[in-house]
Amino acid sequence: MINVFVSDVFELAIKALLDRKMRSALTIVGIMIGAAIIVALIASSNGLSAGISASMGKIGANTLVVNSAMNFVTGGSQSQYKLSQDDVRILGAISGVTKVIPYYNKMVTITVGGTAIQGEIEGIDLTQLPELYKGIGLSDGAYPSQYDPTAAAIGSDIASPTGSTVQIGVNQMVSVTLSGGTGNLAFLVKGILVPYGRVLFSNIDDTIFIGMQAAQLLLKTPYYSGFYVLTATADDVASVQAAIESQYGSNVRVMNAGSIVSSVESVSSQMTVFLGAIGGVSLFVAAVGITNTMFVSVVERTREIGVLKALGYQSGQILSVFLSEAVVTGAIGGVLGTILGYFLSFLIGGIMPMGGGPMSSGASTEPVFTADLILFALLFPIAVAVLAGLYPARRASRMNAIVALKYE
């Protein structure tokens, strides 16, 4: 019996909203924007953290990255602690460490068939790649020899740059220019890597891998950019990190995949709350819009309310008549906002603070829609609308029938 009334009241609500199309539409737009912002921001933020976590997952949980840190000395100049073969021995001696892999890394401009690509060059013992990057492999050719100073393995985006028809195959040449133009070398492609994506702070697909000797030749330095330190198990990571930090103090920066993931996750969860709050504020503004619209509507329909009372509608029923208009407004706004937010989130992915530039390197920013988010985006606007409509609806339900019937 209740349901008969509920469905009828919703039908009345829809007719009432259709009677004032423009006003209803504007109110719905307010709700829609609030819901869209919530969906778009939270989905992008979810996507960012998922992307970062996924890229961290490619590097083993037993891996530490050791870089030399910038030291600021008096006078404002800076010196950098220099990492050498000695450090390989020192690090290798730490209990729990199974392997120390030194590497060179530099941002470079890569020229392939007349197209310039911003990428990285990484000098490393190429035989270590499969152990370092889970699931990496070659789509063509072979890993170059450690001792061949002119051979390289290239990432998939260098072999076929996006937005270009150029295709680089095995035994073709790529040319590399160091940022700042301090060096220039050409390499013979020996192997092409499968598309792999981002790991830590690098995009493997935009990277040229060369042997250690080739890197020393190109970069003109015997000092390493850093080390990958592998431990026996993931449980050793913390103790090894502590040992390295006590050994080197502030001369090096030590990172491990797990701590990066958790710090990214904490940042991204804070960001989710923050962005959600922005959406919440816009929904609040929309709620004020609903309250305002409904007040106007209640005043305009004073006589109608009087008629409903005369026809025997009880206060609660009149309350339902008006609240259901708010519910319909919130529901339509929520559905449209969720759809809009879905598309918006793909746009936002590109402009998120961590979505581009070297810092983000790791992350794919494909938005992630969880069932919770969708449910929230659909239901929260309804709850907001009901709260916003409660006061005007209550006022309608408490009108004096005789006074309302005389209203002109």
Binding site: V4, F5, A310, G312, Y313, Q314
Partner: protein
């Protein structure tokens, strides 16, 4: 005539009787009146017993009704006339369960409304009373048949039953063809007939009409009166009509004149059609 109707001695009523009792409890009357035209066995639809109504504005009290007693029998077509400010609207609101008396008793279909809650009054209005207004008071965004269905929605009557009932009543007032027109597409007379159908759709014990012909020309007024008398005769519906128009009051069974919050005189014009018993 002019005799106050308060001297009914056959049913002394105690305070609170009928409170929260929404079931009809018709009071049967035997022949007890001196007036031969009232000498008939009838069922009382509405009974007012020493009803007063005082409005307070600030510290000042305005007595709108000062002891009105009347009985309206089922099937009776009664008109109430009186100058503006005489208290007839107040009386109508109380008979219509829109308002409670300050003192005295009002029984609608046997239920004393004085101590009912707002929601109980709403239920009484929905089940026992139909309203017709001078300005029709239809909801313009709804079609004629949807307007007629409105009281049945409050009563949670399923859609198909509702539609059947509303359609039947629109046919009864000659508007079957215009059931799906909106009020704005109908003439004033047609709108008022929709309002009549809406008032009747719940099969009320009494229909209260406040200047129902006030916005109609004389031809439409006659047409509407024809429908009202026809409904009264065939369905036995009780009508109380407040009017300024003698053409309207002439066609009712009884005319009650109100002045200064009291019944000034009462005039029996016709017998109540026997069908109404």
């Amino acid at each position: 005539m002019g005799r106050p109707l308060a001297d009914n001695n056959e049913s002394p009523h105690s305070d609170g009787e009928g409170d929260s009792n929404l079931q009809p409890a018709p009071i049967m009357y035997s022949e007890s009146r001196g007036d031969t035209k009232m000498n008939r066995v009838g069922v009382v639809s509405v009974e007012a017993d020493q009803v007063t109504k005082v409005y307070s504005v600030g510290h000042v009290n305005y007595p709108a009704l000062r002891g009105v007693s009347l009985k309206i029998e089922r099937g009776e077509l009664t008109s109430i006339i009186g100058p503006s400010g005489s208290g007839k609207s107040t009386l109508l609101n109380i008979i219509g369960a829109l308002d409670r008396p300050t003192s005295g008793h009002v029984r609608i279909d046997g239920v004393d409304i004085r101590k009912l809650s707002d929601n109980q009054l709403a239920k009484i209005r929905n089940r026992k009373i139909g309203f017709i207004y001078q300005s029709f008071n239809l909801i313009n965004r709804l079609t004629a048949v949807e307007n007629v269905e409105m009281p049945l929605i409050a009563r949670k009557i399923p859609r198909n039953l509702r539609r059947d009932g509303a359609t039947k009543l629109l046919s009864a007032v000659g508007l079957a063809q215009k059931a799906h027109k909106r009020p704005t597409e109908l003439s004033g007379g047609e709108q008022q007939r929709v309002a009549v159908a809406r008032a009747l759709v719940t099969k009320p014990a009494i229909v209260i009409a406040d200047e129902p012909t006030g916005n109609l020309d004389s031809k439409t007024t006659r047409e509407l009166l024809n429908y009202i008398t026809e409904v009264n005769r065939t369905m036995g519906t009780t009508f109380v009509i407040v009017t300024h128009n003698p053409e309207v009051s002439e066609r009712t069974h009884r005319v009650i004149s109100i002045r200064d919050g009291m019944i000034e005189k009462e005039q029996r014009l016709q017998r109540i059609d026997s069908f109404a018993k």
